[in-house]
Assembly symmetry: D2
Homo-oligomer: 278 residues x 4
């Protein structure tokens, strides 16, 4: 007996649940949890089930694909640790939070490496016996720099996600395209407020009473990819922008780790520019 995660993403049509649950029943699978969502606006159906039983995952996946409407997509996943690479710059909080969770065995992930454009974080990362790769951007055009990072990433196999734990450089469309749907970023504002540089300073200048952080997949428009998770905290007039930055770090790290956990547990569907999260 083993557990399987079944993900279904199809155009909505009468009978999908019937067909899928019939297949589960015929395969003698027990449903442990089941989440569905119909996006009426786009006529899309999403489903995530956790089932247990004794099946061949590939066969079930094929059978499911056969009963779905044309274009529908089924994945049957056997839960196991996914490979991730973390990119960071100089700040320690978001990276450190992931390292501690990894050390505690709390993450369904193997951290293959941490890549940074500085060597500042090497001393922290090396404590955990995780490879640290410095790819300095000094004296390099953006493209040349990114090519070196891409090459470094491609040395590794089966990279499921690239986690930008406060990686402070803008990625080119080429980079994003290379790792399409695999890059998770933490932006230090409550998006879409304060896109771009130094959002805490922007927030301070606007005089907001709440600040936040947003974890999202990266696409080619800066800070405009599908949002995975957001969280906020209250601030007052007494906060300088540095105070906002300090307090914001706690939100950033928690939100990034929460988004990473959702991704590792196969709980996120992306459609158009939004996420469905079970």
């Amino acid at each position: 007996m083993a557990q399987y995660r079944v993900l279904i993403d199809a155009n909505d049509e009468k009978g999908i649940v019937h067909k899928v649950s019939t297949l589960f029943y015929e395969n003698d699978l027990n449903i442990l949890s089941n989440n569905e969502f119909v996006d009426k606006e786009n006529n899309k159906f999403f489903m995530r089930s956790v089932v247990d039983g004794a099946i061949n995952a590939d066969e079930l996946q094929r059978s499911l694909s056969d009963v779905l409407p044309t274009g529908g997509c089924a994945h049957v996943i056997i839960p196991k640790k996914k490979n991730i690479i973390i990119m960071a710059t100089k700040e320690m909080h978001a990276l450190g939070d992931i390292l501690i969770r990894h050390e505690a065995g709390e993450l369904e992930a193997n951290i293959l490496a941490v890549i940074s454009n500085y060597d500042v974080l090497e001393s922290l990362v090396s404590k955990f016996n995780i490879p640290y790769i410095t790819v300095s951007h000094e004296n390099l055009e953006r493209d040349a720099h990114e090519k070196k990072i891409i090459k470094a990433i491609q040395e590794f196999e089966d990279v499921a996600y690239i986690v930008l734990a406060k990686y402070m450089r803008i990625l080119t469309p080429q980079f994003v395209e290379t790792f399409k749907d695999k890059i998770i970023n933490i932006h230090h504002s409550f998006l879409p407020a304060f896109i771009g540089a130094n959002p805490y300073k922007q927030a301070y200048e606007r005089g907001v009473k709440i600040i936040g952080a947003t974890a999202h997949f990266v696409n080619n428009n800066l800070d405009e990819g599908p949002i995975i998770a957001q969280e906020v905290i209250h601030v007052t007039h007494a906060y300088s922008w540095r105070d906002m930055q300090r307090s914001g770090r706690d939100v950033e790290k928690i939100v990034l780790s929460r988004a990473l956990k959702l991704a590792l547990e196969d709980r996120i569907f992306v459609h158009v520019n939004k996420t469905v999260i079970f």
Copy 2:
């Protein structure tokens, strides 16, 4: 074509989703939303579906009952306004919030009457052309007082819920039994902290940094019924207990109205002493 809410509550068993979704499919019903939960500890299965189609609700309910495990329970509900009675004492905020929502057409409910042990709120309620019934407790034993209230309530037909909008008297087991599973209360604390009288004063004396409110069904143990909704706000040392009470009112009214909305939309299952909310 009409919408139906289908509620299922049964011992968990392989194949329930299959059987139910097959019935939906055979009745040519379209699933608009579908929520399921398996309580593994108690081996219970809960499901709430909204479907549309053209069926006989009673027949579908019978067919569903037939396919469920022994003891399982199916309800097919045609959405319509439910009858409610509100009980209050002297405070205006929770009652007023419901009255405004009712006036705005936001509630799936008819307010049949407001019953109070004082006449303080009559001037407010009568503005909205809703019957106000004062049942004074003066010079009456608790039992005699409650019997008069029970009689007043029983003058009305099809009372779905009795909403205690800061009704400040303890109800006897007899009252609770008479309206079993129908009484929704707002308690002005984050239960189970500060059960009983003047929770804000208790919270002030304990020096908490967060206060809250809890909407729950009433059972025979004071403030111990199944919790429907809770919400909190932050406070500081600068709050007197009166300040906590004032700020707490906003939480109380929002939480009570949220719980009432969940009940009116048939989104709550009660099992043992807990709720499952879809």
Copy 3:
């Protein structure tokens, strides 16, 4: 013995607290609460004290002004109900929340009138014996419409605040200038995200996981005045924009009422485009 609120707003300079507290001491005033803030960036000092004693408020105000740095400003206020006018359009929740608080005696305010461009809310407002003035915008240029509203407002004396309780028309600079620093608006988004029309639809389309509301003073840039209060709630992919709107209403009304309370209790300083709130 009476209570006074003392508000001080001056360029920061060594000795201000000393001078002010010396005056309090010499006037035999007891400090009940005292809040100070130094805005280092702008070198500004803000203070709000509540004192009790037996003084002439005007004299104390003059004495305070004398000891403040040039340009500094002192107000000594005897707490009493302020006159307010509410403007609304068709939605009931924010207006209703203020009406109930007013009825409960919870607001330090007299509501002089409710002004709307529709008659939809008249039946609600008239229940509370508050004048309702319909100023239809039909067949009128924006300027002509506003002139009629300004005229209607100016019929009343001593209007401290104009509260826009979901008044859905954009105000011209002329209107804003006429009631400078007196207009409080509720915007149905977490500003500065989703400025302008239908922020819930914008939020839905962006796929955010949190929505909010912002109470702010109105200046001449749409939705860009000084922020008084903000609050948020979590949403999921399952929320349509109508669901966001429905849930958002609870946040809107609570935030607007909170901002109004702060204004009525003289707790807000405005400097440049921000608020200091004690």
Copy 4:
């Protein structure tokens, strides 16, 4: 020029602010921030000022003490890193969070050692070159075990705080007395709900919709010391108690670190069984 933190704690009396601010003025001190609170119920006055200037801290402290009402207490503190000792058992999250903050230079503290009754966390702590002391409780009476810990702590000098980062054993009055007002604990519930063992299981069984964590000073009644900080998160019926525990960890670590930061920055006054926090 240097910064000083001035803490004042006295019976309330007319003129305190006047006298203190006069001393500041005469010593040519600039007030950078100033917080005051009058606890009317207990007739107590609390004040925390940050000032800069060039003074002798001890002399200022004496002068302040001289002008305060009898029994009043003034402290003039030159900000510097405080020595702390962390106690933990087996869980990594709260300890790890403090270690990362310490490594990032974010804490105003030197971690002298981590003491545990198990060696589980040694591998984590030793990465950071911090002494790890295992004091096993096996085959020891509670008193004997604690005496060994007390001895281990007393090897160090100037220990400002002992931080219980999920130290899972109950401390005896003797231990608490030895380090009076110096022990900060994180309790994994929203106190006073769910005092004692396994609060997540208690929360699960009660069916609450919100769980939380509480940082507090330890006194001789289990989980009843003065509360410093609290935070909560929403949960649903779908959370097992293990899920609550997992999600709760994020709250626990953030709240404990927040409380520790407040203590290190001398922002907490304790009076009777409550805190005043500036």
